[in-house]
């Protein structure tokens, strides 16, 4: 599939990633899974932003999903979750554009203290739906060449992004942001060896 599921903007503070705004498109998941999927995508986005150095880009593969992350030198970060068919260059170009737009609309002094409800930036759902079709990015592709020379680092699993000694399973169990329901989904999915596909 060529699909985008989630688009989030974070501020990468010294101790943790702070979610400033998020948008999801989870219609392709079955009804009772959507809540858990959304929590997981939020959880994965935050985890990856926290483990991405400032001024760098990563694309992290996890099962059928691809998490594209870009953290700028000023610690503003964007995460785009799609599937692995979605063109990587387009994803990163879109992230650049979203963060530029965000910077233009939200003053930088709000970043370190802002929350999802306090930040006035409502464009994310529109971006997410428009760029479901990567052809929409045709105008952007001209920009692709200008895409800054930051190399995109490819990682094959979330585990590869984690710091030494960290384990995804432990993090899921410990996380306070995940409900019991979501943890049940995680375990079941893992058991059937199709983590996060939830089918």
């Amino acid at each position: 599939m060529v699909k985008l599921y989630a688009l989030c903007v974070f501020f990468k503070g010294p101790s943790e990633g702070r979610l400033l705004k998020a948008a999801y498109d989870l219609q392709s998941f079955s009804f009772f899974q959507r809540g858990a999927v959304q929590e997981f995508m939020g959880f994965a986005s935050k985890t990856i932003v926290e483990r991405t150095q400032a001024a760098s880009r990563q694309s992290v593969k996890q099962d059928a999903y691809m998490c594209h992350v870009y953290v700028r030198a000023d610690n503003l970060g964007g995460v785009l979750i799609g599937d692995h068919e979605y063109p990587q260059r387009v994803a990163h170009t879109l992230l650049t554009k979203v963060l530029d737009d965000f910077t233009a609309k939200v003053p930088a002094d709000q970043w370190s203290t802002g929350t999802e409800s306090s930040i006035a930036f409502t464009q994310l759902p529109a971006y997410l739906s428009k760029y479901q079709d990567p052809r929409e990015a045709d105008a952007l592709t001209k920009m692709q060449n200008d895409l800054d020379e930051t190399k995109i680092i490819l990682k094959n699993t979330i585990e590869a992004v984690l710091e030494r000694g960290e384990k995804l399973d432990d993090m899921v169990i410990k996380s306070e942001n995940l409900s019991i329901q979501s943890k049940a989904f995680y375990k079941t999915a893992k058991k059937t060896n199709s983590c996060c596909s939830f089918s």
């Binding site: 599939m1 060529v2 392709s28 068919e85 063109p87 943890k183 049940a184 989904f185």
Partner: protein, 380 residues
Amino acid sequence: MEIADIENDVLCEKIINDINAVLTRDPDVTSFEIIPTLSYQNKSPVIHVEHNLGLESWCAKHVYDFSHKTILASKLSGSKYIYNDSLVKYLNCALLINPDVTTFWHIRRQLVEKNKLKIQKEFQFAALVLTKKPKASEAFAYRRWLYPFQSAESIDWSIEIGICDRCADKSLSNYHAWSHRQWVLERASHLLRSEILHTEKFIKKHISDYSCYHYRQFVLQTIFDICYYDKEQNEYNSLRDFINFYLVDGVSSVGEIIQTLLPNIDLNATNEDKLKCFLYCCNFAAYDIKFCDDLKNLFGFRESFENHRRASLRFIVENCMRFNSSVECYQQPPVSKLSKFDYSSNAFLMALKKSEGMLGEQHRKWCSLFLNFDYSDNSD
């Protein structure tokens, strides 16, 4: 029977009644799924929110076992297959949890034949099963079996297409959904036009799912077989661009296109419908070749692009050869019989052969095997 077993049975009976209560109360249930839960909680495992029905995973096995047991006991003891109406509720639960039991679907068929089940309800039930398992071949087969009971004017085939579309979207390479869709299309040729658009949209979202490409080839072949064409269409831009890619002396008018593809044809002796359909279909295939090239530019190499491009190319070349060698092409001889076809008389096919031959050794081999192009003399 031990007390634990009796308690278990009572509980299962209650859950089964709960599920059926939802099915009766809410005729618009749109989806069913098993919700993963880690342990038993002291509340009803049947969850019903906004027309979506869920069953907590911890009880699914027990409910299924109990339903299975009850149905089979009734089948064995029942005098000559006279089932009582309450059997339906066990059938509902068993098939929702595990749709792959032919016997259970068969009991439903018998009940339908005895007028114990309403056709409309049965259509809904099979559709509900498909939301839980999009590859449930038995549910598709059941829907096909139900259709003869419908009066022809009350059938809306686009609903059936919609179900196929959702099922194919949910699971990759869904053979059952796509072959069901072919079955629908054979009965609803008025949907051919919209299927051209639907499949293009689907391919853009599922670029590697070859099932859809194959179905699109089926659509093209069906259009050709029933001799359909768009009476409004007088321009064949995709086909023109396709020809101009190979030929130095480009073509522009429809007359030139015909002259290029079919140099030996006597227009007065040719069935006009046949010719227009030929142009319409070749234009479709040429459009797809361009479509595959565009997809390749955007997404990079995929086997599906390559295979679909070849299928479209083959369609054009084969039908050009057939049309050229027998104007009355009602019987279509296989291309191998056309091996004597002298394409040196056709400048366009010569140019195409040469150009395609330069796309690598593998493609060249494919061309000589499937298009009967002879590359043995390297003079080309």
